[in-house]
């Protein structure tokens, strides 16, 4: 990040980063670019489909925050777990869940991950280690701590990534979880996605301590702030935190400084921030654009090669959208299934 852009960050209320960011290999940069772009295109498509009435209810888009989940996912191994709140589409795609199944759940259809019974905020994949998709702010934090507890109980070295936002960071259950996690040295990385607004309330208006990486101090949980718009910085910090957990040293807090371009949900008029603020972040810090420029600069790929990736991603997302549009609604007999096992 340049000195000039640091100043911009400071002006916007975010904090600067002094840390050097380790470079990605060609393969890493290209893979991260494609994965982040997949989330971006998926979310844009979901936004359109919401506008067309194909997706109902609440729909919280992840656009702008893609580097966080993609960078963190690069630190995991099989058996690790991921859990998050309701802004969850990006996390599911990062975990390797099929865009068709995710989109079909958004449209409430048979082949959605939850057979159409969960919707945008409630999807799961046992196979991919994704434990939801939870609609209640703060609730995934003790649940994720419990997933980590299961790793300790079974004596494996798996780690649970427990994501939550700057808004959830003020929930009481978060601190109950921090206490137990450190007390029992549970392998959980608390990934706080600080996108600066809890719905419409700016962090400084809701939080007495706005440096959320310090929120574990009184429990002796180490924490650090990370440039959540740079996938390389995310991965580097994630590697350190995950290694800490795998070594049995207990939980770790990563505060990802990130930004969402869209509203809190689809019906957010976004009157609590200026259009200029959003434009500025998009223009100077976009995680995908940063990766693209890096790839070109380092000659990891040509413009044409990137265009091919773009076309491939668009095709994948169009396929998902087509599938989700034409898949049947769940059979009425599904109303009473899955209440009990």
């Amino acid at each position: 990040m340049t000195v000039a852009s640091r100043k911009t960050e400071a002006e916007n209320g975010a904090r600067p980063f002094q840390k050097a960011v380790p470079d990605f290999s060609k393969e890493q940069d290209l893979a991260a670019y494609e994965r982040m772009l997949t989330i971006r295109r998926f979310e844009e498509k979901a936004g359109q489909m919401y506008g067309m009435g194909l997706i109902g209810g609440f729909c919280h888009l992840y656009i702008g925050q893609e580097a966080v989940v993609i960078g963190m996912q690069m630190t995991l191994k099989p058996g690790d777990q991921v859990i998050t709140g309701y802004r969850d589409h990006g996390h599911m795609l990062a975990c390797g869940m099929n865009p068709k199944g995710v989109m079909a759940e958004l449209t409430g259809r048979t082949h959605g991950y939850s057979k159409g019974k969960g919707g945008s905020m409630h999807m799961f994949s046992v196979e991919k280690g994704f434990y939801g998709g939870h609609g209640i702010v703060g609730a995934p934090v003790p649940i994720g701590t419990g997933l980590a507890f299961a790793n300790t109980y079974r004596g494996n070295d798996n780690v649970c990534l427990t994501y939550f936002g700057d808004g959830a960071a003020n929930q009481g259950q978060v601190y109950e979880s921090f206490n137990m996690a450190e007390l029992w040295k549970l392998p959980v990385v608390y990934v706080i996605e600080n996108n600066r607004y809890a719905m419409g309330t700016a962090i400084a208006r809701s939080s007495a301590e706005t440096n959320l990486s310090r929120r574990g101090l009184s429990f002796n949980i180490p924490g650090e702030q990370v440039d959540g718009m740079d996938v390389r910085a995310v991965k580097a910090a994630g590697d350190k935190a995950v290694a800490w957990c795998r070594a049995g040293k207990g939980p770790y807090i990563l505060e990802m400084l990130t930004y969402r371009y869209r509203g809190h949900s689809m019906s957010d008029p976004a009157k609590y921030r200026t259009r200029e603020e959003v434009e500025k972040v998009r223009a100077t810090h976009d995680p995908i654009e940063q990766a693209r420029l890096r790839i070109i600069e380092k000659k990891f790929a040509s413009e044409d090669q990137l265009k091919k990736i773009d076309a491939k991603v668009r095709a994948l997302i169009n396929e998902a959208s087509e599938f989700a549009t034409h898949d049947a609604e769940p059979d009425v007999s599904e109303l009473y299934t899955d209440v009990y096992r």
């Binding site: 506008g51 067309m52 991950y113 209640i136 701590t145 549009t325 109303l335 899955d338 096992r341």
Partner: protein, 471 residues
């Protein structure tokens, strides 16, 4: 090919909106994410972003237009190398076609409005609700030794047996380990199973209930003890939103096999915040099973069943009953079916339905009534959800009269539910309205005399039974 921009739905309830302002003009270049227009919805003014790259070819709906239906084309975007002449060839965008063929609710509404002749919507009928079926109690082999023990011991034995059987079962809660249980229910478990499986928690019900749910989602089988269910209100969100609903929300993919247990209902002289019956609260929730035993044998057999059950189970114990002794069959593996009521006393004149501590009053009342020649049948529900309606109905068909007994409050209570089911399923058999005996409609008072008045009594049950028998 040019693409149409459609009037978007910008909230879960929006059907139409006003096109307040165009921020781009015809001929302007647009790229994905650019704000091109402002729309006034029923809630707020919202921005419309372009989804495709190109040039704004034509504005179809001028700014200032009111009540534009969702999905109406409002502009055309030209792709690379296209000029305005392409607009006449514009075809409904791929997405619009998709929207039409998929016939989602909103698109349908918009179309119906446009045509002013709403097509009759085909209403789907809900399927028949499944009837809960429970097996009968297993036969106790003749000659089985009956061991008299307290409910406290029976519960402890149930947990110990299941922990020996399945290494994924563990106990977690406040004071369950070193203290040996606030009510001594977990006595000896730490010594046998060690600190890894018998875990003292900080006093954080919300946190450890959620942690238990997480462990259960990961496939373990936690027994979460609440020191009393009064404190479980702090954890309510995890009991209901996280434990009870996850199987459904995941389309059957991810279950939550967990037992939440502890004393429920009034103890003695601990006043309002520590004396509440949550039977009705939990039995309201689909996805939960709710058990509230009265005898030591039922406590043991049902707790073992609850631990093995793949669903979240609320196991409501009673502090006063912990010290009560009753015979328990000495069998290697005594497991009872969840969802099966028990006829605790047979009779022909009136049906008394209760569970847990209420059974204590009900059985005493039956003895009193017998002295007056009224032969009461007493049903111990044992499980509140799924409720064994069949056993209640069969009894009422025989007696024609029913009295419910509970410590909880009447409004929206379990007694109200039983009365409703009797009315729905056995109305023609009733010779009198169903009577309810319950806790008084007040927070629990502390004073000994008032506390006694606030709880159901044997005398009240006797009186209610006489009344429905017109005697």
């Amino acid at each position: 090919m040019p693409t149409e921009v459609l009037m978007p739905a910008l909230s879960p309830t929006m059907e139409k909106g006003n096109l307040a302002k165009w921020l781009k003009r015809e001929g302007d270049a647009v790229k994905s994410g650019d704000v091109i227009a402002e729309i006034e919805t029923d809630k707020a003014t919202m921005e419309v972003e372009a989804a495709d790259e190109g040039t704004l070819g034509k504005i179809l709906v001028p700014e200032g237009t009111h009540d534009v239906a969702v999905n109406t084309p409002i502009a055309v975007i030209l792709g690379e190398g296209e000029d305005k002449s392409a607009i006449k060839d514009v075809k409904p965008s791929q997405q619009q076609k998709a929207a039409e063929s998929a016939a989602p609710a909103k698109a349908e509404k918009a179309e119906a409005k446009a045509q002013e002749t709403p097509a009759p919507k085909q209403e789907q009928k809900p399927p028949q609700a499944p009837e809960a079926k429970a097996a009968s109690d297993p036969d106790i082999p003749e000659g089985t030794e009956m061991v008299t023990m307290t409910m406290r011991e029976a519960l402890r034995d149930a947990m110990a047996e299941e922990m020996r059987r399945d290494k994924d079962v563990f106990v977690i809660g406040e004071e369950v380990a070193e203290y040996q249980g606030a009510y001594k229910v977990t006595q000896g478990l730490l010594q046998e199973f060690g600190a890894k499986r018998v875990i003292d928690t900080p006093i954080t019900e919300h946190g450890f209930a959620g942690l238990g749910v997480g462990a259960a989602l990961a496939g373990l089988k936690p027994i979460v003890e609440f020191m009393t269910f009064n404190f479980a209100m702090q954890a309510m969100d995890h009991l209901i939103n996280s434990a009870a609903k996850t199987l459904y929300m995941s389309g059957g993919q991810m279950g939550c096999s967990i037992v939440f247990r502890g004393p429920n209902g009034a103890a003695a002289r601990v006043a309002a915040q520590h004396s509440q019956d949550y039977s009705a609260w939990y039995s309201h929730i689909p996805g939960l099973k709710v058990i509230a035993p009265f005898t030591a044998a039922d406590a043991k057999g049902l707790l073992k069943a609850a631990i093995r059950d793949p669903n979240p189970v609320m196991f409501l114990e009673n502090e006063i009953l912990y010290g009560h002794s009753s015979p328990v069959p000495k069998l290697d593996d005594f497991v009872l079916p969840i969802g099966k009521a028990k006829i605790a006393r047979s009779g022909n004149d009136v049906t008394i339905v209760s569970w847990s501590m209420g059974m204590s009053y009900a059985l005493q009342a039956a003895e009193e009534l017998a002295k007056d020649g009224i032969d009461a049948e007493v049903i111990d529900l044992r499980t509140l959800r799924p409720m064994d309606t069949g056993t209640i109905v069969a009894s009422v068909q025989k007696t024609g009269r029913a009295v419910t007994v509970e410590e909880g409050w009447q409004q929206s209570g379990v007694g109200a539910e039983i009365a409703a089911r009797i009315m729905e399923r056995a109305f023609d058999y009733l010779d009198a309205p169903v009577a309810r005996v319950s806790g008084r409609d007040v927070p629990m008072p502390y004073a000994a005399n008032l506390e006694k008045l606030a709880l159901p009594s044997v005398a009240e049950i006797v009186e209610a039974a006489r009344a429905v028998c017109y005697r």
